[in-house]
Amino acid sequence: MKNKILGFTCAYAPVPIIEAAGFQAFRVLPQGECPDQAGQLLHDNLCPHVKRVLDRALDNDLPGVSAMVFVNSCDSMRRVADAWRSARPGDQVMVLDLPSTNTPSSIDFLATEYERMARTFFTWNNLTFSRERVRERINVWNDLSQTLALLETKMGEAFYPGLAAEVQTVVNTAATDSVDAALAMAKAAVTKAWVPAGGHAPVFLFGNLLFDPKVFDLFERWNMHVTRLDFCTGSRFVSTVDLSQTDDPFAALARSYMTGPPCARTMDITRPGSIAQKIVERAGASNARAVMGFTLKFCDPYLARIPGIRQALQAAGLPFLMLEGDCTMGDIGQQQTRIEAFTEMLGV
């Protein structure tokens, strides 16, 4: 029997908890051809991520989804959680409170939120709550994350045509199908005989959402060697959960999610603006010679940090190209000239 499907929209919703409670985790990505209708409930000035997700809900383009978890991660995400109740009143909906800082009290609170989330999902699925089951799924998740890390290391070492798109396909599988299936794909990708090629400019990519594997093939065609997919739909989504420090899987999840590579919305208050330095470091570690940012329009968490990121990259001598859009293929296609000029300027 197929598992019931539970939808989510933010990388801070741990898939291991959803799967442990017997659901198929399904990330509702802002894609598809459904008509623009979100404006009935939300203002146009919200990011295309949440508007598109709501369009899908209003168009009933969510086959099998009967439950949703939203994360109180930014103003726009709060609003789509609000709108969901009007758009699909029949769904079971949970909103998880996610602190904006990674202080000890925030991490402790998030651990209680993750436990609340798990207990709610087990109840929704008429299963007995099991911490052990959550730990088991975290172990599989970690296996996936470590296997993906091998592929990402490879991405940084040389230009392997098609590898970035392959990594993205694995991540999408974990997000919308199953972690087991993604793990099998990742393991197959690790053993595949990838053939390196030359003549492409190594560029570290970061931002909020960019998830269509075809986009990365396009970038390659435009002379780019993608060294990292630092998106909340990319490598940041599948980050390792450190189970070695605690027996409590929820505490482990909270600590790992809050201290791992951050989304712009999560702050280290001891080092304000440190996301910029972290991008510089990760870009360097991936052997990139330049950095390209992509963020959705109206995304306050990212857009407010871009000037600081630009400064830090400049100081590190890393050329930077910033794109803003709606993450559709059509929109990316319009950036061809700028991206080609950028990779050409890198002179590989």
């Binding site: 203002h43 000035n45 990011c47 407010a304």
Partner: protein, 403 residues
């Protein structure tokens, strides 16, 4: 320069008040307190904290910190028609032109060194996480320590405990910067003053509900948000008393002309902060704003014996800290209590938090028979203002209400 500007306002209003020492002059006393706060913020020797909107100002006042939410500066710049210069500065530095203009103006002022340098910064995730990004940038720019109050969206016991714990941690953070530990006695006194002011605020709103309402469209403009800055102080109590007394006096002397409120309106979220002839536009149609969404008391009295938890509960009770269902329920309650005929939502451009759900708010008010006029106004940035269009829409709206 700014210090001198505020000082001249302080002396001007003080001189006016001295001409009539027994007069009530609520708005003047309020303007005087606001200018004096501006003066303190720009003076060399005050301990200053830039904060988020829902920071506990009574606690900060009790610790001797001159504190203010940064959006206040955005509003002030707009009201003096200087915001444009600073917004342009922020945009030129790469900050998105479609972000909240309160934040853009403040960011520009920071970049142009027109803001007082704080001793430390306290961000709050309510009302908006957009504001948190500004606080982080500020902490980086000024190289000052940052503390953040994460405000959960629920009022569960765990959420209350978490916020109360953070408020206690915040007091420790402040003490670490001022060198003075929190005095439980002083905090207790401050909370008693908050309670005294709150009783008066409730009376003010109670009077404003009357028909005809003793308020005019401007009387309680920005009141609910700005008065929080004076909570925990005797000055705050005195301002509230002046407002209460002025409304009582207006009622006693039948000062309000019922023909001026053929249409009673509610204003959703923030007012327009730059000079804009709202009152005359409305007045021409016999319409009047009798209530603002942000003018309400949603919390229980503070418990000086349990200060952190009661402050936490207060912050969590604010509709902007909660989900849209709570916000709509609150708007519906206000609509009924004030017997309003319609609502105006300026839909402040750039505000994902408040404007984001405008469709749901309109539906919620229409459900109880209250029509809503959704405008497209940036309440701080007047550069793209289409005044004629707004006037036409007001007229159509009021005509529609009058049938």
């Amino acid at each position: 320069m700014m210090y001198d500007y505020f000082s001249s306002i302080v002396s001007g209003i003080t001189a006016k008040l001295e001409e009539d020492p027994h007069g009530i002059h609520a708005r003047k006393r309020y303007a005087l307190a606001v200018a004096a706060l501006g003066q303190r913020l720009y003076s060399e020797n005050a301990r200053i904290a830039w904060c988020g909107v829902t920071a506990p100002f009574d606690l900060l006042n009790s610790m001797g910190v001159t504190s203010c939410f940064v959006e206040f500066v955005g509003a002030m710049l707009a009201s003096t028609e200087t915001a444009e210069l600073f917004m342009q500065e922020a945009e030129d530095a790469g900050y998105a032109a479609d972000s909240c203009a309160y934040h853009r103006a403040v960011t520009g002022a920071m970049l142009k060194s027109a803001m007082p340098v704080p001793d430390f910064i306290i961000g709050t995730s309510s009302p908006c996480t957009a504001g948190l990004a500004v606080m982080e940038n500020m902490a980086k720019q000024y190289r000052k320590d940052l503390f953040v109050l994460n405000v959960p969206q629920s009022e569960s016991p765990a959420a209350v405990r978490f916020l109360a714990l953070q408020i206690e941690e915040m007091a420790g953070f402040v003490a670490g910067h001022t060198g003075q530990a929190l005095s439980k006695n002083r905090l207790g006194e401050a909370l008693e003053l908050t309670n005294e002011a709150t009783v008066l605020i409730k009376e003010i709103y109670g009077l404003a509900k009357q028909k005809p309402s003793p308020v005019d469209s401007r009387f309680l403009n920005n009141f609910g948000v700005v008065i929080t800055l004076f909570m925990g102080t005797r000055e705050g109590v005195d301002i509230c008393r002046a407002f209460r007394d002025e409304l009582s006096h207006r009622i006693a002397t039948s000062a309000m002309d019922p023909s001026q409120e053929r249409i009673r309106l509610m204003w959703v979220q923030n007012r327009i902060q730059f000079p804009f002839p709202m009152e005359s536009m409305l007045g021409d149609s016999g319409a009047k704003i009798v209530v603002d969404e942000l003018n309400d008391v949603t919390w229980e009295p503070m418990d000086p014996d349990n200060p952190f938890e009661s402050i936490a509960r207060r912050i969590l009770s604010i509709p902007f800290s909660r989900n849209v269902d709570s916000r709509v329920a609150h708007l519906q309650e206000l609509a009924r209590e004030y017997q309003i005929d319609g609502a105006i939502n300026p839909c402040h451009w750039g505000c994902r938090q408040g404007t984001g759900v405008r469709g749901i708010i309109s539906n919620g008010l229409r459900e109880i028979g209250v029509p809503v006029l959704n405008l497209e106004i940036d309440c701080v940035d007047s550069r793209n203002l289409a005044k004629g269009q707004i006037q036409t829409r007001f007229e159509a709206f009021t005509e529609m209400i009058q049938g």
